[in-house]
Symmetry: C2
Subunit: 453 residues, 2 copies
């Protein structure tokens, strides 16, 4: 009755990433220059991103892209990660479903974010870049990039949303321990920051502002690139090590998932787990269901519009074709900070539009209820973000019980919650609420955007 | 140049624990009843501890003790843990020494403490116990026991030192998430607690008081046992899975350590790593050096006296033959809360007395300097406790560089520091100090104790 772990050897760390775009019959629409309204080419992204990342972003043809040796070397600190059959959870739910989870929480920063942080830091280093910059909300991405930047000897400046900087000092300290400079955003270090501070002296920051500051710093600093932790195609690409490993591990378990579930913010961990399994759907070989689990308070895939929208609040980025709540949408301050993003990214949105993946939205209290059950059965306290995947899994497992069906569900445990215990504290003190978004609010925020279809 | 991981399969999780007492030529002195001054028998401990644990405590003859299947099953959540060759650290130190560490931080609660928590909770369950109780200082032990107790369906009450309860809310929340009841000590739930609160209304608690409360609760509650996370022989026994695994992994690496290092509080992680290697010294086969790394602010092995002393401040426990600073010694409030214990336990103290192991004491600032270097090279932020082992390792590696010797050093990374980031914050803010203990203070605290020799 105990939970069972399926382990791989280091030689099983994938040699390649999987580029799902190559297999998509309908490709994602191109990124568009908001000024000229023309599609972007990879070269247009070279000033901002590492060339290799820009090329990967626009690669619509190569199914597999080789993982550099230096990246695989560093993956070995925590990869391959375990796949676990969650028998204790199954028993607690009294479900005939077999529940598996891929445990990405075992990385030294506690989440899957390292999979792309290592790759992006490596490419910057290989191209002679000396400085990189990024933004972070809750801090999972900033922590991962800090560790990777230090390894490759890159200087890193992280713009951290001011309210998180003040309320989540643990994540800030983690970044500093790895040697990164952490700046509360808005800051006086950029024009964008100075303007906001001058106009609104008490403004507590937003991801959009932090992106603007990081982009400005990258563009105005010699030999400095900007690095992003989700949303973009090349980030999803790097994360496919999760699903490629899980595929081999499901073979060890002697099963194949009929349902694959991950939480959804900008798509990094969902894409990472789902895409390698999705390729067998795209080839007609399998018929797995994919469920992106997003917060009810930020329901872009379930309730947003499929439009061209900016990636940031300030409108500095290219236009991205995606399900969006509008780049000015301001999500409620839920504890799953990593899921508070307005858009679904180009690939996932296209897949959703074409009916190749599903999405559900889950209220905050249901996620903490699920997280607590998971901790008390499987022994791991999940991150508030990952708890959305657990809640969606529990819904499916209970449906299987109703139907008396022996199903196989695989979800991604994208991170642990040991650095998020204040959220649990508030949950146990009945100090958390659910947040619903009104149709009016969504309409208002998406009305001015350019419809794709 | 990258660090290299040595992994075992689940079938390599040890089948037995190693009982070093069986191989010791000079056995530890017996525990003594403070009233009668007579040696204790296992039966004398039955009212307080699980019978199996009491029997293990007094087992001086069996070299290996079988690990129950149910315990091995649960070990599989995180075991076998990796052994890592720390090449990035070696490079940063420019040392010819080969540095290995056993990574116990990968457990779901972030430390080695689960190794004994699982065993003790299992034995309680197997003997029909329904309730258990313990004390915790910083909270690593309490967190591990909470997880294990929930798994075996035991009710758990944890007395947490009041100042930690208030200052370390993350660890408290972890225990609550696993379903444990956490009580700030001193509390109104016991006679001992009520007396202290009445006499000293603002008293912020101590480990000694918390032990007294837990012991009183266990003795006055039907079907309730007391459980301890360090110091005692059976706890050290359970922790030997660390060293037994590491031994196989060093074989995979093709080397054998000439120096084995672990931090030292009550001895649980030191014993766990060291004893399996020590058995080859005791048999005359090897000549490895063992170093227990303790804080300068709590230097029982390096500067304490070898005497009979109580295990708790209040004097409720049997007398233990050990190096001690006196049970009334009040260590400075360093961040390595797990190392703030006055005594060395019976086995380790006897080994130290007989010259079979060494000890060093390390000032707080050196441990954080070492921790930061480790985080920035090996990518893992260590617990403040484990950082003592890292600092001692760095000292040895630098000596090897001086001497031009290619040595092989193995240390235990007993836990990660992700839940201790306030300590790092204070270090980076130059807000931490070193604490030295005066000879007078030690003499004063040990003067009234009964010398062993």
């Amino acid at each position: 009755m105990e939970s069972k772990k399926f382990l791989l050897n280091e030689k099983d760390i994938p040699q390649v990433w999987y580029n799902v775009i190559a297999d998509m019959k309908v490709k994602p629409r191109p990124l568009i220059n908001p000024g000229t309204k023309q599609p972007l080419k990879a070269e247009d992204l070279y000033p901002l991103f590492a060339k290799a990342c820009a090329d990967q972003e626009m690669n619509y043809t190569d199914r597999f892209i080789e993982i550099p040796d230096e990246v695989r070397e560093l993956y070995r600190i925590y990869r391959p990660t375990p796949l676990v059959r969650a028998r204790a959870l199954e028993k607690a739910l009294d479900t005939p479903a077999h529940i598996y989870f891929k445990n990405e929480s075992v990385s030294p920063v506690g989440s899957h974010k390292l999979n792309s942080a290592i790759a992006q830091a490596y490419y910057c280093k290989a191209e002679g870049v000396t400085n990189i910059t990024t933004e972070t909300g809750a801090g999972q991405w900033g922590a991962a990039l800090s560790m990777a930047a230090k390894h490759f000897g890159l200087e890193l400046a992280v713009y951290m949303v001011k309210i998180s900087y003040e309320q989540k000092p643990y994540r800030r300290s983690i970044m500093q321990t790895y040697g990164a400079e952490v700046i509360a955003s808005p800051s006086m270090s950029t024009k964008a920051g100075r303007k906001i501070i001058t106009d609104h002296p008490n403004y507590s920051g937003s991801l959009g502002t932090a992106i603007s500051e990081a982009v400005e710093l990258a563009m105005s600093t010699p030999n400095c690139k900007y690095v992003l932790g989700s949303v973009l195609n090349h980030v999803a690409l790097h994360q496919t090590v999760i699903g490629l490993e899980a595929e081999k591990q499901m073979e060890l378990a002697g099963e194949y998932p009929d349902t694959v579930i991950a939480c959804f913010g900008g798509g990094s961990n969902f894409s990472g787990l789902a895409f390698p399994f999705l390729r067998h759907n795209l080839s007609g070989e399998r018929n797995t269901r994919f469920i992106a689990a997003e917060p009810s308070s930020c329901p872009k895939l379930t309730r947003g519009e499929f439009q061209y929208d900016f990636g940031d609040e300030a409108g500095y980025t290219p236009l991205i074709p995606m399900y969006t709540l509008g780049h000015n949408f301001s999500p409620a301050n839920i504890h799953a900070g990593g899921l508070r993003y307005h858009g679904g990214g180009a690939i996932v949105s296209q897949l959703k539009h074409d009916g190749l993946i599903d999405a559900v939205d889950i209220p905050q209290l249901e996620t903490f209820e699920a997280a607590t059950l998971f901790a008390r059965t499987e022994g791991i306290i999940p991150a508030p973000e990952s708890s959305h995947a657990i809640a969606a899994t529990i819904r499916e497992a209970l449906k299987a019980r109703e139907a008396g069906e022996q199903r196989v569900i695989l979800f991604n445990l994208s991170g642990h919650g040991l650095i998020d215990m204040t959220a649990y504290d508030r949950y146990f003190s009945n100090d958390l609420a659910n947040y619903e978004v009104g149709d009016d609010e969504i309409r208002r925020n998406t009305a001015q955007l350019e419809k794709i279809i």
